[in-house]
Point group: C2
Chain length 198, copies 2
């Protein structure tokens, strides 16, 4: 005894997604079946449409519906600064600050030798080429503040500085609204390193 | 600045699912876009196909691809015993024990006056009709052991016993492999109530 085959297949589809286990896949499947046929068809169409419309920008490797993307083709952006991030979603987060006016480059991950992820698995060769060919003056590294992100930042620094380009990394320290009492030692240490004159 | 419209729409689709928040919906969307067009189209087809194929059995209200379902039409099942469960998935769990040979009836929920769920919102009228018309001898209640499940069980008992039908509820007690030391008082109390002669 098991579920009807079509339901088992549906559950298998949801299990393909990262972080979705057997129980959640069942729950999502039951929800889907509780929707009307029209709603399910609309969901399916949206999925296929999104996949058809959205690609990675050939310049910065972020998500876009047109290639190159709106940021890469915006003449008002600073053309000599590139901010390097791990994932397309990071571009959105930085844009929301409204403080960055340069270009982006999405690596699609971070260096992780244990997982077999070296420079060639990321968009690092493309970054080097762009820096060399486009007269880039500064590369702002905004990889995540963890082991892989740190390793990637120091690798990129060693790769790009010899080209005579300034390499910076976004600051570490206390989050705004945070409390010194609750900061961990590593963050506090980095906040001290990153102290600025007042 | 936001994601491309087609991606925003995709994220909205995932947010429709219960228990899926903004971050998870993003993660699922990014995963979907990382799949090939063929894979996405296959997923979409599986969803639409499952919705088209699967309906609720007109007899027991469980999931089925043919109506009535395999259990309701199986002449080898005991025709005079009905087990009442809250959800279609519960049928599968009980079938896996291999110990129940009767029919099922899925309520699609439990009584919950706070949420406005009364007998008419569940498949309770259909259950009463079936019990009256099909010569049912016993109704085994297997609703969940919580407030709503208990309320539903006692409501069904008051509804069905007057028809001269035996009403039972599956036993409560220690889970097999469990340890007395870690049992909560409520479970232990119910285990004492449910003690049997050896």
């Amino acid at each position: 005894m098991s579920y009807p085959p079509a339901l088992e297949e549906l559950i298998e589809v949801f299990r393909l997604f990262p972080g979705i286990g057997a129980k959640t896949a069942q729950r999502l499947s039951f929800f889907l079946l509780s929707q009307s046929s029209e709603e399910v068809e609309q969901m399916a169409r949206t999925m296929v449409y999104a996949k058809r419309r959205i690609s990675y920008c050939s310049e910065c490797a972020s998500f876009t519906e047109k290639d190159p993307c709106n940021i890469c083709t915006d003449p008002k952006r600073e053309q000599e600064v590139i901010c390097v991030v791990q994932f397309p979603r990071d571009v959105l987060v930085l844009e929301k600050t409204g403080q960055y006016r340069g270009l982006y480059h999405v690596l699609h991950g971070a260096l992780s030798p244990i997982d077999g992820i070296g420079p060639e698995e990321l968009k690092i060769p493309q970054l080097k080429k762009k820096v060399e060919e486009k007269g880039i003056k500064e590369v702002v590294i905004a990889t995540n503040p963890n082991v892989e992100g740190d390793a990637t930042a120091s690798y990129l620094s060693r790769l790009i500085k010899p080209l005579g380009v300034r390499v910076t990394r976004i600051g570490f320290g206390l989050p705004v609204g945070g409390d010194l009492e609750y900061a961990d030692e590593l963050t506090l240490g980095r906040a001290l390193d990153g102290r600025m004159d007042l």
